[in-house]
């Protein structure tokens, strides 16, 4: 029988190889749509049901009642609640091209590789014993047949089985698990083989169950009777353990690396989740349907307490159904191998992407575009990792020697990976969750788990000393591993779960609250939490200076020549170009990074592109630099704006100055022509009359005297004119010397009137002398010059038959006001501004240089007062104001 068992096993393995090979061929040709069906997806999820559950569920039922059901019901909770968590994780996994659970957590927290390394190490520590457990189950089940057919042979032969199984699994996993590099191209061969194994193990267990119920027990009613009559209790520990197992199995279902691999990485279509939400619970329900009957039957056949873990095999064997037993063996073999294969793929991806590749990248600082074939290195590192993980599992089995400690490792391993849960769930629902929080939370949970559950599970003095177990760490009783902080009497699993998960969550939340995430984390946090809003952009490259050709070379080495050229060509088309070399826009670099991330993980892809693009990562410094540049540009532009304002202002000022200059030049020209005219007129008559006096000999005395008089008059006029000009120039330049004395206004006006000595016909002056009694302190001579000038003007220009000038004086607010108003026509509006200018004459009626009012204005300005034209009077009106100091 042993030989036929070996033959059947080998045939089954060969069939698996063929199926995997065939599926790969179909997928490569783009055929075989059924490979991507939701049923295959659901069946692939069955890697959850390992040999531990295949054999161990019956053993657990025989020992501890219904506890095994909780292990199946936990995942049911997760799947029927797929809308809450799984859907989001799958969407994130697809949009970010996540390759493993370590990749998910590290991507969420700013592509931090340290987190990825910690998660990877925790996953390896948690999974290695589990792989050993699978190898042990194969060994034990094989041993059952060995003992049956060759009584007396020892376990040594069986131990060698473990070696050959491990070797075969490593070979299979390497062959089909590292065929293609992009994890987003699913491992069709592996998944199909897993699906086949899922069917085999389910059918095998159901076959044994049907055999037990209808063959051994004799029907359903009898089975129920036998169950109630059996010594199996519902459970022999407290109800808290039931809930604890429900929780931990639900958590592990999400966080186990192998579950993440089949559930998130290998999924083809999000819609498959909807099918799996009911189909997988159905699968596990069927898996557990016959567990209790088989256990009851086993206890009936072997009442003396044989290993209940092997009832699935021994019950049919005891009834002589060797063929069925062999089928059951194949079922258990399927359960063990499928778990090992997927776990090895998942772990090797993590180890290779997060441990080996970063180290290799660091060591080989060479330029990636000229370095060796990265694709080969990644594949090689993955193959080595797979072999290493299986070797680890094998040596673990050899070292511990199997036994009960190993059997208990299942739930302990679950509790270990459950430590990923806070960082994971927090990361996808809470934006403020940050790297430090995740890091410290993970470490806390892991340490507490190891201290309270993992290390003590090996027994006293194995990995943790008996003193610590009984007295607590450092002899502190509240640090006892089984009664942390004085909580006693709890089941050890529940105790460890409560403490590890709660402390993990607490540290995660508190550290996240008090520390600050870097920009990359905030970006990724937003993209994870709001994945339904934007399922695209992953990280940002602020500059795209990479040489396209270098990128193409590198990509070819990672994803293969065809795939890389396809990506580059598609991008070139998108940019409206022909050929394979698109512009390295930030968007393209981002897309390319995501593509590469599917092969080598997000952090590694980021680092590789960074080597070519010349930026190690988008760090805070980079962002600060960008911000600085922006600030500088803004500063510069605001400076420019200010400068241009200034320029505009000076241009305006220049224009004004220019206008003024032009004006002044015009005025100067006018002044010059005016003055030459004013000088020329008397000079002409002087010259004419002096020539007459010189040439005409017969002039009588009367004429001579007349002409000499004219010449004299003209020279006087010239002198006056020159005096006036000189006076004005002195006044204008502020060089005038004022002779400040005290005086009375009435006296000044009296003096002026007597100096002008106009007759009443010429000008009648009306004044009220009693109102003029004001004392002033000023240059009295200058002031009377102004009054004389105004009186003379009135006499000269007043166009009235009976000219009359009203002089009125009053004082207001320390301001003395003298109004001179005549009864003439006044000055036209248009000329009112000009009359105070030099050589300006309002009419041609009287001869005059037109300097009088200009002098008046200058005098008043020098005296600190004003002279203005007073419009709206009976005739021309002038107002002189003078401060009374």
């Amino acid at each position: 029988m042993l030989n036929s068992l070996i033959a059947v096993s080998l045939a089954y393995v060969a069939a698996l190889f063929l199926v995997a090979f065939y599926a790969e061929r179909l997928a490569a040709r783009g055929r075989g749509a059924w490979l991507r069906s939701p049923i295959v997806y659901t069946l692939s999820l069955s890697v959850y049901c390992t040999a531990w559950t295949f054999y161990g569920a019956v053993g657990s039922a025989a020992r501890a009642g219904l506890e095994f059901l909780a292990i199946y019901m936990g995942p049911t909770l997760v799947l029927v609640g797929w809308w809450w968590v799984l859907r989001k994780i799958v969407r994130i996994g697809r949009s970010q091209k996540i390759t493993s659970i370590a990749d998910l957590i590290s991507s969420r927290y700013g592509k931090s590789n340290s987190i990825a390394v910690i998660v990877t190490i925790m996953a390896v520590i948690g999974t290695t014993p589990y792989i050993a457990l699978q190898l042990q189950s194969v060994t034990l089940s094989f041993n059952t047949f060995l003992v049956e057919s060759r009584p007396g042979s020892d376990l040594y032969d069986a131990q060698s089985t473990a070696f050959w199984v491990a070797l075969g699994l490593a070979f299979f996993t390497i062959l089909f698990g590292t065929r293609n590099l992009d994890a987003n191209e699913r491992h069709h061969g592996v998944v199909t083989a897993i699906a086949l194994e899922a069917v085999v193990k389910l059918v095998a267990l159901i076959a044994v169950g049907v055999f037990v119920v209808w063959q051994v027990m004799g029907g359903v009613t009898e089975t129920f009777a036998a169950i109630d009559a059996s010594e199996i209790h519902m459970w022999n520990r407290d109800g808290g353990r039931w809930t604890g197992i429900l929780f931990v199995s639900a958590a592990a279902f999400i966080a186990l690396p192998r579950m993440f691999q089949v559930m998130v990485v290998e999924i083809d279509d999000e819609k498959h989740l909807a099918t799996a939400s009911w189909a997988f619970p159905t699968y596990v329900m069927l898996m557990s349907l016959f567990v209790v009957p088989i256990a009851v039957a086993g206890l009936q056949v072997f009442p003396d307490g044989a290993n209940p873990d092997l009832f699935v095999l021994t019950v049919p064997l005891a009834h002589g159904w060797d063929g069925l037993a062999m089928f059951a063996f194949i079922g258990g073999f399927s359960a063990a191998t499928s778990m090992v294969i997927v776990a090895a793929i998942a772990l090797s991806t993590m180890v290779s992407n997060h441990v080996v590749m970063p180290i290799w990248l660091k060591w080989s600082s060479r330029d990636l575009s000229v370095a060796g074939d990265v694709r080969q290195i990644v594949l090689f590192s993955r193959r080595i990792s797979i072999a290493g993980i299986l070797a680890l599992g094998y040596f673990y089995l050899q070292l511990t020697g199997g036994g009960a400690a190993l059997a208990a490792i299942g739930l302990i391993s679950f509790a270990g990976v459950a430590q990923f849960l806070p960082a994971m769930i927090g990361g996808i629902f809470w934006r403020a969750a940050n790297r430090h929080g995740a890091l410290f939370g993970l470490l806390t949970g892991f340490v507490v788990w190891a201290y309270t559950l993992f290390l003590p599970s090996f027994g006293p003095d194995a990995l943790i000393s008996k003193e610590i177990l009984e007295q607590g760490l450092f002899g502190l009783s509240w640090l006892r591993p089984n009664a942390l902080f004085g909580i006693n009497g709890l089941d050890s699993l529940v105790h460890a779960l409560v403490w590890s998960i709660s402390l993990n969550t607490l540290v995660f939340v508190i550290v996240s609250l008090v520390t600050f995430p870097n920009p990359m984390e905030r970006l990724q946090g937003a993209q994870f939490v709001n994945v339904y809003d934007h399922s695209v952009e992953a990280s940002s490259w602020s500059k795209g200076r990479a040489e396209t050709e270098d990128l193409l070379l590198m990509s070819q080495r990672i994803v293969g020549a065809n795939e890389a050229q396809k990506i580059f060509r598609a991008e070139a088309e998108r940019q409206g170009m022909v050929g394979y070399l698109p512009d390295t826009t930030p968007g393209f670099i981002q897309r390319l990074e995501r593509e590469l991330a599917g092969s080598v993980g997000a952090a590694t892809a980021h680092a590789m592109i960074a080597q070519i693009v010349g930026r190690s990562s988008v760090s805070v410094d980079d962002l600060m630099r960008v911000a600085d540049e922006t600030a500088q540009i803004m500063e510069y532009s605001s400076q420019l704006e200010a400068k241009s304002d200034e320029l505009a202002k000076s241009a305006r000022q220049l224009t004004e100055a220019n206008e003024k200059l032009t004006n002044m030049s015009v005025q100067k020209d006018a002044f010059l022509s005016q003055i030459s005219h004013e000088l020329r007129t008397p000079m002409t008559s002087i010259r004419a009359f002096s020539e007459i006096l010189e040439n005409e000999g017969e002039l009588n005395d009367q004429d001579r005297a007349k002409y000499a008089g004219i010449i004299h008059g003209e020279t006087l006029r010239l002198t006056r004119l020159l005096d006036d000009l000189l006076d004005l120039s002195v006044l204008e330049n502020g060089q005038v010397k004022l002779n400040i004395t005290h005086g009375n206004i009435a006296d000044i006006i009296d003096h002026a009137i007597s100096a002008t000595h106009f007759s009443k016909d010429q000008l009648e002056i009306a004044r009220n002398r009693s109102d003029e009694d004001f004392d002033v302190t000023a240059d009295i001579d200058r002031l009377s010059q102004v009054v004389i000038n105004l009186i003379t003007n009135a006499a000269k220009y007043c166009e009235n038959d009976a000219p009359r000038l009203d002089i009125s004086v009053r004082s207001e607010n320390d301001l003395l006001t003298l109004d001179f108003i005549d009864n003439g026509k006044g000055v036209p509006n248009t000329l009112q501004d000009e009359i105070f200018e030099k050589f300006s004459r309002a009419s041609d009626r009287a001869a005059g240089a037109g300097l009088g009012l200009a002098i008046c204005r200058e005098v008043m300005t020098n005296l600190g007062g004003h002279i203005t034209y007073l419009p709206g009077q009976t005739g021309a009106g002038f107002r002189v104001t003078l401060p009374v100091s």
Binding site: G65, L66, L69, A70, M73, T76, L77, V78, L79, V80, G81, W82, W83, W84, F224, I227, D228, S230, I232, H233, M234, W235, D238, G239, G240, W242, T243, L246, E270, K271, L273, A274, T275, S277, W278, P281, T282, M285, L289, V292, F429, V529, N530, Y532, D533, S535
Partner: protein, 93 residues
Amino acid sequence: MDDKRLPSFLERSSYRRRRARDASRLLPVVCLFLFAYPGLWELGETGGIVLSDALIFLFAVWLVAIAVAAVLSRLLGEPVVGDSDFSDMKSGE
């Protein structure tokens, strides 16, 4: 009459789907309660509940949960990813 009926029909189907969403969120909570329920039962052989009763209870709950999940997945799994009805489920809702 016709142009009034069409929007009301669309409204109804979208309303249905939203309620299916709510139900699928509620389902794991109800399941958790029912699954955890045996943890509260009396321990020991003298208790009123025998093992076969417990088995029947758990498997019945399990079966109903699967049936409800199957119905809900038919209602929810159909629309293409990213269509308006599917993508409006932000974390807030």
